[in-house]
Amino acid sequence: MIATLQWTTLAVCGIVTLARVPSALRGENRSLFAIFALMTLAILLSIDAPYLAVDQALGGMNIANLVLRFVIFAAIFFLGVRVARGFSADDALKLITGPVGIVVAAAASAVVVVVFLMMDTAGSSAGLVAVSAKDDRNAALVEFYGAAGRLYPGFITVALFPAMLRTLRSGLPVLVRSSAALLALGTVAISLSLLSPVIPPSLGFMRFFFNYSAVLCLVLGLSLIWLAKTLAKRAPKKQAGIT
């Protein structure tokens, strides 16, 4: 079931990215294409087989995992800025690009790098499962490392959360509100994934569930906006005028 979720997420991200190629070539919203491409790369690197292949090429020291963290950071930062601008969430934009956001980004990056260096990372292993299994110290460090890696995405999405709720209650088109709902749901999933370290091993599948459903919600939410725009451009505009 986990594998299905992983490959479904990868497929959805990949399809959306490919679908955006024409508009990116036309020069429309290239950064959005970059966000989708980065997300696809991140999903790719979180699945066993591709991860092992990439990491072997990088020296088998799990550097691919560190790369994955920063790919996620970059994608989520650009995404946060775009969404905040689009939804006129000035409060969120200030939080993300202001001093607070920079401090959080720097702190999360520093912790990720430091913890990574403290671990015995020899031997490629997706999700650092093998590293975690080495001994208790490494197991604890892997948990810290994961938590630090989720801290920044959590921060960005929580910053956007109020704006999503506002949009949800507004009178905007249904597709836009649905996408706000999906983005809000993604936020909830990311926030829940912060709890990963305290999820008992028997419920381990929940970790995967939170992680991948978060990405799925974000990608589908963004695609809905795109769909709404395409549909609206095709259909004649329904204007409420002076009657």
Binding site: G86, G171, L222
Partner: protein, 248 residues
Amino acid sequence: MPLPAKAFQFWLHRVAPSASTADLCRISGIKRTTFAQQLVRGKVAETTLVSISRALGLSPLAELGSFDQYAELAAPPQPPTPAELVSQVATMDLLRAVISRSSPAYGGYGDQGSSMTPALGPAPHATSVRNWVDAIDDGELRHRVSAATGVAPQNYSAQLTANRLSPELAVETARAAGVGFTGGLVATGLITEAEAGWTPGAKQAALDALSDGELSALAGDRLQALGKSLRRHEQEQAQTEKIWENLG
């Protein structure tokens, strides 16, 4: 609350004993799937009854009144108040009335109800439901309706904003306000003014009876409400464009 299917079937048997479902749908213009679904679910919409009554040449109001839950409608209807009548005049017709009364220099005739003024449009108009409720509201009406029906005030408001009101709520609102039952049914477009028994010139007469001050103030209120709703719509449009620009 829609009509129970069983009672509806009895009624159908009484008014059109020989007509098949297909016949009824054809003469009344109701989609067969919609009709079948309403019967299967056991809840027949009031609009279905009204359409069939019209097609059979029966009075929708009287036929609605033959059902237990709308029994009050069977009694001779209490005529609408002047305020209710004026509430069913479209905003643009109100503004035209203002101009009609102005001096000839501004395109008017300087009098009331000139024969040159075009006839009023039929009810319902774009904001007829809210205008009707405002016309009969003493300030506590919404609370009384909410208490009597259990419908939350924000849901009631949402219906008014969408220019909708279920027939049941329209009747309850009229009851809570102590006015005749036809006003709400006309304002929601369930029945026409003629079907409600309103005399043809009633709206025009109520409009003509307004003083210049009352008419101007009313037209001003309507324009303000229209401006508010158009502005909100424009803001939402701009917001949507912005979202599309950034994320589409």
